[in-house]
């Protein structure tokens, strides 16, 4: 779609491709890439245009879920090299993960240039980070009316040293220090304090996250019991935020987890330096950087055990929450259509959205995946899953088909079956 907006001619060719194949949006990547992008682009040839450049930017290729897809995308991108008269330029970024490295290595001939970001000479990065820190801290100094000498060259150099090449360290530190509800001159020493010589690459980043959490979650509280309560609440609320397959809005999260809005609010409010928390209840709450999730879920990195989040545990708790939400929401003929023979295509998406809340739709789509990731043994869950399926299996299928997720459903049932390989006869019979 972005391509179509770029050139009216291109728009025409893309539309022709859609007209030829109505269901193209659901076809495989190869076919889409070829018919919607390569072919329309090569048809531009006929119009005697001078050679011109067209750029695509793809960020974070490593966040595609399937390895095969990554390899495929890289191969497809490489196919575009002989396009003319257009000079296509594709800018891709990713973590240096194995499937991606292999994917690029497999390409024959010289079709790509590589640049390894963490191999750039130290002094260059240090210079850039210190420039960034000076700019950000300068803004903070103005906003908080601090004396002009704050924070001082020495402190900046310490921060640069601690960042150890990681921009996310510098950016997170500045967000934490510059929090409008606090005094930056008190927070700066907090960040600087507790530095130790790096054992691992993420050591200083991990320590800063720990500092931030200690300060934001526990604060001045000294009582063991209260501390444990606060940390528990943090894990109960932030755990799902980092684990859920889609970023939840505050209101959906409140209903899914059955927490009160006030508890949610006081727990999340101090976490602005690591979470992107919108002002309203309907926009999604997101992590500011994936490294925060990596940190929380890794027991080795998250040394203060009170903050460590067990992915498995959160997944299995979410299964229960999902089943509760679904049990309350699902019923026969959920959209009150009245007619069993109604076609899915006749039901507007909006009708479905009115009948089923965000969290119920989320639960329908993802509970099976939480079940899988939670590694729940279906034999000793007291038959909860079995009971749910007995009562709501057909309602669940109805909801999914109205959500136009039938093809996914097949995958989900396969997952469910594979989990039953050694399970009890009652469920397998089902």
């Amino acid at each position: 779609l972005q391509l179509a907006r770029w050139s009216p001619h291109l728009k025409r060719y893309i539309c022709e491709a859609i007209a030829e194949d109505d269901g193209i949006g659901g076809r495989s990547l190869q076919i889409q890439w070829k018919q919607l992008i390569l072919q329309p682009l090569s048809m531009l040839k006929d119009r005697r245009l001078p050679t011109f450049a067209l750029a695509l930017v793809l960020d974070a290729l490593d966040e595609c879920q399937k390895e095969e897809d990554i390899t495929l995308i890289i191969r497809l991108l490489a196919e575009a090299k002989n396009l003319s008269p257009i000079r296509l330029r594709v800018f891709v970024t990713s973590r240096p993960e194995t499937p991606i490295r292999l994917g690029f290595n497999d390409l024959d001939g010289a079709v790509h240039q590589d640049l390894v970001l963490h191999d750039i000479a130290g002094p260059v990065i240090k210079h850039d980070i210190s420039l960034f820190l000076k700019h950000e801290l300068g803004e903070i100094q103005k906003k908080h009316d601090l004396p002009a000498y704050w924070p001082g060259e020495q402190n900046i150099q310490l921060l640069v040293y601690n960042a150890d090449g990681l921009f996310i360290y510098a950016a997170t530190a500045c967000r934490f220090i510059g929090d409008l509800n606090c005094l930056p001159e008190e927070r700066l020493p907090l960040v600087l304090h507790g530095r130790s010589v790096g054992l691992s690459l993420t050591r200083t980043l991990d320590e800063m996250y720990t500092q931030i959490l200690k300060h934001s979650v526990i604060g001045d509280c000294n009582e063991q019991e209260e501390k444990a309560m606060l940390c528990n609440r943090f894990r109960k609320i932030v755990g799902p935020i980092v684990i859920l397959f889609e970023s939840p809005s505050a209101s959906a999260l409140i209903r899914l987890l059955a927490f009160s809005a006030r508890i949610m609010d006081v727990t999340l409010r101090p976490l602005h330096s690591v979470l992107d928390i919108p002002n309203n209840n309907h926009s999604p709450i997101k992590l500011l950087h994936p490294s925060f999730r990596d940190f929380l879920l890794d027991k080795k990195r998250c040394q203060e055990n009170q903050f460590w989040i067990s992915a498995k545990e959160v997944h299995s708790n979410l299964v229960e929450s999902c089943m509760k939400v679904m049990s309350n929401a699902l019923k026969k003929d959920i959209c009150s259509l009245g007619m069993p023979g109604t076609l899915t295509s006749e039901v507007e998406n909006s009708t479905m959205n009115d009948c089923l809340s965000n969290e119920a739709r989320y639960a329908c789509r993802y509970w099976i995946y939480h079940l899988e990731q939670g590694e729940i043994n279906l034999c000793d869950d007291n038959g909860k899953v079995h009971a749910f399926l007995q009562q709501h299996f057909l309602h669940w299928l109805e909801a999914l088909s109205l959500m136009r997720q039938m093809s996914e459903r097949v995958l989900m049932i396969t997952v469910l079956q594979s989990m039953l390989s050694v399970s009890d006869a009652g469920l397998l019979g089902f």
């Binding site: 779609l1 391509l3 919607l36 930017v57 973590r95 240096p96 390894v116 993420t202 990731q373």
Partner: protein, 120 residues
């Protein structure tokens, strides 16, 4: 007559728009879409050499049409990608950009994350 021609023209456009609607756009993936606006780009004066290198690569006529920037978490890949996308955009050369929302857990296949990526 002019009016008729214009009318025919615009209905053609409407038809095209309706056809494009059949493709699912990757929601919020384009770099300048609202949700990403508060995200940062490189501060001017930083990453000078790197951005120059990208510029040279994009302008030169050669076969290395893919530029792969890789780096560990937190080294600033997305910020650079946003900067690059916006500079292509200023030149009128940006065909499309895809930024992932920071919201996925690894290990699970989300079947329809990928197709919409290419649809947009």
């Amino acid at each position: 007559l002019d009016w008729l021609a214009w009318n025919a023209h615009s209905s053609q456009f409407l038809k095209q728009d309706r056809q494009l609607e059949k493709l699912r756009a990757a929601d919020g993936a384009a770099f300048n879409e609202y949700e990403l606006q508060h995200d940062m780009q490189c501060l001017s004066g930083t990453r000078v050499d790197l951005l120059n290198q990208v510029k040279v690569w994009s302008e030169k006529d050669h076969n290395e049409h893919i530029f792969w920037l890789n780096g560990m978490a937190g080294t600033g890949k997305s910020t650079i990608a946003r900067t690059v996308a916006s500079s292509f955009d200023k030149e009128g050369q940006l065909g499309g950009s895809f930024f992932s929302p920071v919201a996925r857990v690894s290990g699970v296949v989300l079947p329809d994350y990928l197709p919409p990526l290419l649809c947009s």
